[in-house]
């Protein structure tokens, strides 16, 4: 229990102390006077947070909490507990938890102990998942819901990974199945199917796939050897292909003939004189054509110019012809080269291939010498016919040798190939060997994937089990909590609304969704409906209060205080009366801190606690003023009559008169309500004193006529009304700041005050002080307290 709260430099508080000494607190104040600051201070002290700042656009506590005229470091909240222990909260530091109070501080951090007006409908209007969160916070389960999510996330993450690994494991199995040409589902299945295949091919059984290597060596040695020769086999095939393409092109011989002919032609043409002479002849011919001389310009002999020109032309023509033949010869040489080169290249290739096979070493030498010989032919520069003949002879010799060597080579290669060729049995074995090789390779992949799979499966098994157990325990425990709560919520709701057709309120966990909660009630015989369908706003507000209070009552054993911050808005006077009784009677173990701006609710609470003789357990405060420099100004609560007397004692009859007028209005309203007087309905519920007086008086007269056995009560009541009737004008005079008030004497005002109070006493129980009430069912006027033994006034 809280003994003392001291709030310094927090919001609008400069330095205020509220001494409770473990008692409950009712505090009234107009808007903006600092009621909610006390609530914020308590929340900040225990939770280091102020929840309403986190809604909508967030605002930091550092920005919100410090008094505007002071630095944040000046902020300080001190709380002293009934056990004498103290702690302090500043903007920087959390309160140091006093010894043996850890449970209170830890629970207050997690569990909701403050209810404010804005939160009332949260229990009802929220979505099922938000409602679950709110209720979880109410009983301090917020972290558990987060924990549940963490477990679920991990389980899902591993499950996804597991699916991926399973997929790749299955793909390897599919590959193996493809090799086996039948579906294999696991390792033993692979072995079984493989053995069935081996047995069909008359191979012995394989004991384990891990033994494939040994099995291959034992049963496929020959095929394995042959497969080693497969490269040689390919090389031989290459050699054979090449050897078939090697030959001396017959065109070469034609070319040699052409060479010979051309050589003859060149010899036939006169051998050319040197180049200078031909230049001279060309110049001479030009000169002769140009000058047409009769004599030679060199020897001065007579010349026949026509004969000389003809002779020069002939000589120059031969020269031209000779040059052309030389060009032809060059062309033939190139052709020869072109025809010889492929032969040399093919021989080079063949030698390279032969070189790959040791057994053909002797053949290599032969082809190598042949190649050298052919290359030599190419190097010969023929000068005469003999040279050509020598080339032709060499070629023919080489061709003969080439054909011989190729024949030998072909023969040997084909022989070797025959030796290496697979028999039908070999082919069959070779296929099995291929199958074994493929399965061996994929089986290794499968094995490593299986290890990975088993590891992830184990991980998933643990994570999933943790997640499932946590969800089950959480669901089971929350269900238990809700089951035990339903009866409490219904009991409290029935207390507030005994005659309304709402019942069977239920909190139900959505079985299909994690962290989701339905709220249902039976209304007007409609079963399991959302309360918003058939209940009024006031009913929903009081349902919200009942849910909160039920949780507090059932589960808040650790936090000894409950804060109700301005929770009354839409609840009407009758139901407030019931709520006041409920709060004052149902929570004797808790320290209640109730704030309100509503004077009527404030008064109802006070009247009820007086009636229940609980005044000593309550601290009643009003905030009568506030300013920035001094913070709120508190005043102890006194009821109107006590206040009126105080003002008379102070000699301030004017204020006493104004308060008397308010007192009269309040008394008349009470009488109208208690005796069920008829009051004309008004959209603006403000009634004048005269309207209230007339209605109440009319009702009193009517009821008095029916009183048969209590003449004293009847006469007293009528007399008080009669006495007051002639003074009601004062009610209007005292209503406003009326200057005529000065015309009224102090005695007149005092007299008026006494008459109002006597009227009030007239309709209160002489035994317990509670208000008397008209009971239509029993035709009587009796004390509103059910257990009061005062005899009722019977009516006809």
């Amino acid at each position: 229990m809280i003994k003392k709260i001291n709030i310094q430099k927090f919001r609008g508080f400069v330095d205020s102390e509220i001494i409770l000494d473990g008692r409950n607190l009712i505090i009234k104040g107009d808007n903006g006077t600092g009621k909610s600051t006390i609530v914020d201070a308590l929340e900040y002290f225990f939770t280091n947070k102020i929840k309403h700042l986190t809604k909508g656009e967030k605002l930091s506590v550092k920005e919100y909490a410090p008094h505007v005229k002071y630095s944040p470091e000046d902020l300080k909240i001190d709380i002293e507990f009934k056990n004498g222990k103290k702690s302090t909260k500043t903007i920087k530091d959390k309160p140091i938890i006093p010894p043996r109070m850890e449970e209170l501080f830890n629970t207050a951090r997690e569990q909701k102990f403050i209810l404010n007006r804005s939160e009332l409908l949260e229990f009802i209007n929220s979505s099922p998942s938000d409602r679950f969160k709110i209720i979880a916070k109410l009983i301090g389960l917020g972290d558990l819901e987060k924990q549940s999510k963490e477990f679920s996330k991990l389980s899902n993450e591993i499950s996804k990974h597991l699916n991926l690994v399973e997929d790749s494991y299955n793909k390897i199995l599919e590959k193996i199945s493809k090799f086996l040409k039948t579906k294999a589902t696991n390792t033993s299945d692979i072995l079984e199917k493989l053995n069935s295949k081996l047995s069909k091919l008359s191979f012995p059984e394989l004991k384990s796939i891990d033994d494939i290597e040994k099995y291959k060596e034992a049963h496929f040695k020959n095929v394995l050897l042959k497969t080693d020769y497969s490269k040689t086999f390919k090389d031989l095939e290459n050699i054979l292909t090449l050897s078939n393409s090697i030959s001396i092109n017959p065109k070469i011989y034609d070319l040699i003939i052409e060479f010979k002919i051309l050589n003859i032609k060149l010899r036939e043409i006169q051998h050319p004189i040197d180049l200078e002479l031909y230049k001279f002849l060309e110049s001479g011919l030009k000169l002769l054509k140009l000058r047409n001389p009769k004599q030679c310009p060199l020897c001065k002999q007579s010349i026949n110019i026509y004969e000389l020109i003809s002779d020069l032309n002939n000589r120059l023509m031969k020269r031209k012809e000779y040059l052309e033949k030389l060009k032809e010869l060059e062309k033939l040489k190139n052709n020869f080269k072109d025809l010889m080169e492929p032969l040399i290249n093919n021989l080079t290739n063949l030698i390279t291939n032969i070189n790959q096979i040791n057994e053909l070493e002797n053949k290599k030498e032969k082809f190598l010498s042949l190649k050298i010989s052919v290359e030599k032919i190419m190097e010969i520069i023929p000068k005469n016919d003999k040279d050509y003949e020598s080339i032709e002879m060499s070629l023919k010799k080489n061709e003969k040798e080439l054909n011989k060597f190729l024949k030998e080579l072909n023969l040997e290669c084909n022989n070797m190939k025959k030796k290496l060729e697979l028999t039908e049995k070999d082919k069959e074995s070779y296929e099995v060997l291929n199958l074994l090789n493929n399965i061996q390779l994929e089986y290794e992949n499968l094995k490593s994937k299986k290890i990975e799979l088993l590891r992830i499966k184990r991980k998933y098994e643990i994570a999933n089990l943790i997640n499932n157990i946590f969800s089950e325990v959480l669901k089971e425990e929350i269900n238990k909590i809700f089951e035990s709560l339903d009866s409490e919520i219904n009991r409290l709701y029935l207390f507030l609304h005994p005659n309304d057709l709402h019942e069977n309120i239920k909190l139900e966990i959505d079985p299909n969704r994690r962290g989701s909660l339905f709220l249902k009630m039976d209304s007007f015989n409609c079963k399991s409906r959302d309360p918003r369908v058939l209940a009024s706003e006031g009913h929903l507000d009081s349902l919200g209060i009942c849910i909160f209070l039920s949780f507090v009552k059932k589960f808040n054993k650790t936090i000894p205080f409950i804060v109700l911050d301005d929770i009354i808005t839409t609840i009407d006077a009758n139901h407030r009366e019931k709520l006041a009784k409920l709060l004052l009677t149902e929570f004797p173990e808790h320290q209640l801190i109730i704030t309100t701006h509503d004077g009527l609710w404030f008064k109802q609470l006070i009247e009820n606690l007086k009636a229940l003789k609980l005044e000593h357990k309550w601290e009643i405060l009003s905030i009568i003023d506030w300013d920035l420099s001094h913070g709120p100004e508190f005043s102890d609560y006194k009821d109107l009559w006590e206040k009126i007397q105080d003002y008379y004692k102070r000699g301030d009859s004017d204020v006493a008169g104004i308060l008397t007028r308010r007192y009269l209005e309040w008394v008349l309203k009470k009488i109208c309500l208690a005796l069920k007087a008829e009051i004309e309905y008004k959209s603006d519920p403000k009634y004048t004193v005269k309207e209230l007086f007339d209605s109440a008086y009319k009702r009193v007269n009517k009821l008095c006529k029916r009183i048969v056995d209590n003449e004293d009560f009847k006469n007293n009541l009528k007399e008080k009304f009669e006495n007051l009737k002639s003074w009601t004008y004062l009610g209007n005079l005292l209503a406003h700041e009326n200057p005529e008030i000065e015309l009224i004497s102090t005695n007149e005002i005092k007299n008026f005050s006494n008459l109002v109070h006597e009227l009030f006493l007239c309709i209160t129980c002489s035994e317990c002080g509670n208000l008397l009430k008209y009971n239509r069912e029993f035709s009587e006027i009796r004390c509103s307290k059910k257990k009061c033994k005062n005899l009722p006034v019977k009516l006809k």
């Binding site: 997690e110 301090g140 972290d143 477990f151 591993i158 943790i466």
Partner: protein, 61 residues
């Protein structure tokens, strides 16, 4: 004991009944709860990896 502590205790006890969950994992979570801390997904994953590695090594040995 708070409702939260009660639920966490029941959860740990139920885990202990399951032999397939390594005791190191349960101890790890229990000590975290005792320190008023919830178990983060990444931490639990890390712990699981470490424990499964140990299990694998034990099997190999």
């Amino acid at each position: 004991m708070s409702i939260k502590a009660n639920i966490l205790e029941k959860f740990i006890n139920k885990l202990k009944e399951k032999k397939s969950i390594p005791i190191e994992i349960i101890d790890f979570m229990e000590s975290s709860f005792n320190d008023e801390k919830m178990v983060k997904k990444s931490e639990l994953k890390k712990k699981l990896e470490a424990i499964l590695n140990d299990e694998l090594n034990d099997k190999k040995n």
